[in-house]
């Protein structure tokens, strides 16, 4: 590396800052700092002529390190680094300090003190850039193909979007037919239209299908170029990295050739095996070779391997006119290379038999909503008649019970959010078809919060559906009268009721789909407290996960109605496309790096890394060494704070840079108050410092802010180093623990601070000199107040005397 030549560019914000800070004194100071070869003062340096000055100084070889004092450093950094890179200097050899919000504004009442602090801040920045090293720009290729897990309405819609955008899409469904829970639900609120109606491909195929809405079976979904539908299949293994996954799929045999079956139904007429039809709530039987309903996709029969006698019988083989039945089909292992994965595994009904007093599974006339939906289906087992399963007579009195196993601390504490609407939908559909039916809905609270949902509730009341506010205690059965009794208190009357019913319909909680836990393990995804897939951030990144490249949509994250599922599915498609569309991931190597000579394979860092970026790889006989994936590493440095031997460092903030900054920040005081080092994370912590300055909240200039990517980077030794370097007090400022931008950093920092306090006490130093604070942007006032209070606290403690070793 050639000689270091630091250029310092000082913005006075249209001479506003120079009303407080003595710029002449600052420039005199800076000029004498070793390594500084160029100093410029201007109105602004992040755009226009100012930015050109920086570019020119690089191009003419005057400088090869850049320090810029500029307001709103986060934004300035973007344009400055871009310009610096274009000028031919490595973009990482730049540092931006904010003299406005971090110095002039909050110390405007004490101009001379502010000037001294400004000198210290710029000196710290100069010392840091002198030690900076060039950081490479890395490229990782990504495949333009996507795996969608789950063929319900979420999976189908996201798959359709992506295929239409030109991505190769593999849609994996574990059942034999597409449609998921929706296909069984028959109709959807609030439109009351068919659940199997989907948005069909709107571009090339629109000319064929004419409209954009179609039934699944005639939507042309399977004919979208780039879509590969794999039914009877599940994901068993996922390897690789974002952009390049190798996925192993296990495809169970269908025993019927999808390309040959014409759906003539001859096979079922000869099949001798008859079993209860689970799909249709066991309200009818089906054969060992079957199709769920005539309206499914693929319109191809399937053989139930558990009950079929195969070659012992083979009657279907004889009768099939197209020789479509292939009894010798075997389970296949399919390997797919995909750039991205979307989880759309949905939810399912909770089994309400755990609530003993409702006797589900014991009394045949106590059923669930999904079972009722099968009766409402004209193609269903009762051809649309509502019956009581015990004797198949029409159900004249129906009682709905809400919140069965949901909003219940014993089973599922959350509200499933869609069951009130499902009950209103089913009640109104039945009332419309059979007006003489007496329907009562027992509810705790009716939650009809969506668009047009309240009108649905209104309509139900107008139609004469009865509402009882109260959760039933018990359902009992009189076998002679063949009638069920529901014990419930109408709370509004304070009266105990005994509702007689032919049919009781339970609205069970909606819980994560079968296999959610296993899939989460395969994909390395987190589940939330209720067992659903956890999104990266519910507000900002609702379809992303902490595993970059893996996305979520639909009921896999929480029970959702159809409109919300659509929104979620389209959103996931956009995020996935955004991730893959460039064909590569570009990032600076601002990552952690391991010194293999020091690494003692203690496993601390792989366990701590919130992004799974660190793995232990074999080094020599019986020894492992930590290795960082540059692709997965987010550069937070939580691993650095965790490593007990200092074997891991951030390329963009080495420990010697932190030391140099500390030394510089504490080198000049200029105030009569004790120097306090505030080590703040660059996220919420620094935003709080920013906002206090922006709002001109005053705090003393003895507070010196040292910015690190995440408070979790901090090591206990660094806290001691701060005291040793001259700090009379140390503040550590991080995000709120549950809002930490790097998940665990704030919490880790707190532990370091607690530990350091114990050790300080051992050394005879007051632990009160050290404190951790959690702040966000809107708490600028809290930062200013904390800074003032901390100063008072340290002043009371008096001067810290350290005996140097």
């Amino acid at each position: 590396m050639s000689e270091v030549k630091v250029g310092v560019f000082l913005s006075d914000c249209g001479k506003q800052l120079s009303k407080i800070l003595d710029f002449d004194a600052i420039i005199d100071f800076v000029k004498n700092v070793s390594g500084v070869t160029y100093v410029a003062r201007g109105s602004e340096f992040w755009r226009g002529q100012g930015l050109q000055t920086i570019v020119d100084s690089i191009k003419t070889g005057k400088v090869n390190r850049v320090v810029v004092a500029e307001s709103v450093s986060k934004i300035s950094e973007i344009t400055i680094t871009k310009a610096v890179e274009e000028a031919g200097l490595n973009a990482s050899l730049v540092d931006v300090v904010d003299l406005k919000d971090h110095c002039a504004w909050p110390h405007r009442d004490a101009p001379s003190e502010a000037t001294e602090k400004a000198k210290a801040m710029i000196l710290a920045s100069i010392e840091r850039v002198k030690l900076l090293e060039p950081i490479e720009k890395l490229e990782f290729p990504t495949l333009k193909s996507v795996l969608v897990i789950g063929g319900g309405i979420a999976g189908m819609q996201t798959a359709e979007d992506l295929a239409d955008m030109g991505f190769e899409v593999h849609l994996v469904e574990k059942e034999s037919f597409l449609g998921g829970l929706a296909a069984r639900a028959v109709r959807f609120f609030p439109t009351d239209d068919c659940a199997i109606c989907i948005q069909s491909p709107t571009s090339d195929l629109k000319t064929v299908t004419n409209t954009s809405r179609k039934c699944v079976y005639r939507s042309g979904f399977s004919e979208i170029p780039n879509i590969n539908i794999l039914t009877n299949s599940k994901v068993v293994k996922v390897e690789g990295v974002p952009g390049n996954y190798k996925v192993t799929i296990e495809k169970k045999p269908r025993y019927v050739n999808e390309k040959k079956c014409v759906g003539c139904d001859l096979c079922t007429t000869v099949c001798p095996i008859e079993v209860p039809d689970e799909y249709n709530a066991k309200l009818k039987t089906r054969k060992a070779i079957y199709i769920n309903t005539p309206l499914v996709y693929p319109p191809v029969y399937v053989i139930d391997a558990e009950t079929c006698k195969f070659n012992e019988c083979a009657k279907c083989v004889e009768v099939c006119p197209t020789n479509a039945i292939e009894l010798n089909q075997k389970t296949e292992q399919i390997t797919l290379d995909v750039g991205s994965i979307i989880v759309a595994t949905g939810f399912k009904e909770y089994d309400p038999s755990v609530i003993k007093e409702y006797h589900y599974g014991e009394y045949p006339d106590v059923i669930t909503h999904l079972e009722l939906a099968r009766m409402i289906d004209g193609f269903g087992p009762t051809n649309g008649e509502i019956i009581r399963p015990s004797d198949r007579k029409p159900a004249k009195r129906i009682v709905f019970v809400q919140c069965v196993g949901s909003r219940d601390r014993r089973w599922n504490p959350y509200c499933s959010s869609i069951c009130c609407m499902i009950s209103l939908k089913h009640a109104t559909l039945i009332k419309e078809a059979f007006p003489e039916t007496d329907i009562t809905i027992c509810y705790i609270d009716i939650r009809a919060t969506g668009r047009e949902h309240e009108y649905y509730y209104e309509k139900a009341r107008e139609m004469g559906i009865n509402f009882v506010k109260g959760r039933p205690a018990e359902i009992s059965h009189d076998p002679e009268e063949k009638v069920l009794t529901v014990d419930v208190e109408d709370e509004l009357l304070g009266r105990l009721l005994e509702l007689k019913a032919d049919l009781v319909v339970l609205a069970p909680a909606m819980v994560p789909a079968e296999g959610t836990k296993e899939l989460a393990e395969i994909l390395g995804l987190e589940l939330d407290q209720d067992g659903f897939f956890k999104e990266y951030n519910p507000k900002l990144r609702p379809t992303e996960t902490k595993r970059r490249g893996i996305f979520l949509c639909g009921g896999a994250t929480f029970p959702k109605d159809a409109p919300t599922t659509s929104l979620h599915a389209h959103s996931a498609a956009v995020k996935t496309a955004k991730f893959l569309t460039k064909g590569k991931i570009t990032k600076y190597q601002k990552t952690a790096v391991v010194n293999e000579d020091y690494c003692g394979d203690c496993e601390f860092c792989p366990v701590t890394c919130p992004y799974g970026a660190i793995t232990l790889v074999p080094k020599d006989e019986g020894h492992f060494v930590a290795q960082v994936s540059d692709l997965l590493c987010e550069g937070c440095g939580v691993c650095v704070g965790t490593c007990p031997v200092g074997a891991i460092e951030l390329r963009h903030l080495r420990p010697n840079q932190i030391s140099a900054q500390m030394k510089a920040l504490l080198s000049v005081n200029g105030t009569s108050k004790p120097l306090i080092l505030a080590i703040s994370c660059s996220e919420c912590g620094n935003a709080a410092v920013d906002s206090s300055g922006m709002a001109m909240m005053q705090y003393p200039a003895n507070i010196r802010v040292l910015k690190v990517p995440c408070a979790g980077l901090l090591q206990v030794q660094q806290i001691f180093e701060a005291f040793k370097t001259g700090a009379q007090g140390v503040m550590v400022i991080g995000c709120k623990p549950d809002g930490c931008h790097y998940e665990v950093g704030s919490e880790k920092a707190k532990r370091k601070v607690d530990l350091a306090k114990i050790l300080l006490k051992e050394y005879g130093i007051e632990p009160e000199r050290l404190e951790m604070f959690n702040m966000v942007y809107i708490e600028g006032d809290k930062f200013a107040e904390t800074a003032r209070k901390m100063t008072e606290r340290i002043e009371k403690l008096g001067l810290l005397q350290l005996i140097s070793s």
Binding site: R409, G470, E489, E491, L496
Partner: protein
Amino acid sequence: MTYEEKSVSSKFSDEIRHRLGGETIAFCYQCGTCASSCPVAKVTDKYNPREIIKLSLLGARKEIVAGDTIWLCCSCYNCQERCPQEVEIADVIYTLRNIAIQEGNVPDIYVAFAEGISNEGRIVPVSKFAEKKREEYGLPPIKPANMDALRKILQATSFSKIQFKKGEAQ
């Protein structure tokens, strides 16, 4: 039960929540499972556990503590078993009774129970009839309670310090 207070306050529910057995009262979302599970509520409309919880949450301390409803609970724990919010309803009612006892509002029968414990070590005194029946069945006579030990327990648990006053509630 009528709600005589016109204003609402969380003072009483705070008091209950900080006493043993009353911790869970604020979980209640008024679903009524307790009321429709209650065998006492089935036979008298004077007693409704949901209403007791609601009145307590709204702060009707006087009505609850001086009233007689809390003494009607038969401690079958049906409500507590079935409550979806895991409100320990029967235990909350014990807590309310404890408050009532402190305020000197105890039905006679409970005073008799307390006296029985203090004097003979039994809630129900052993009757001549019972002794005769036991003899007929070949059962040994009931041994008198170890009053020395019991008194120590009653003292250690501060039971003996409680002034069981006969109150308005009967």
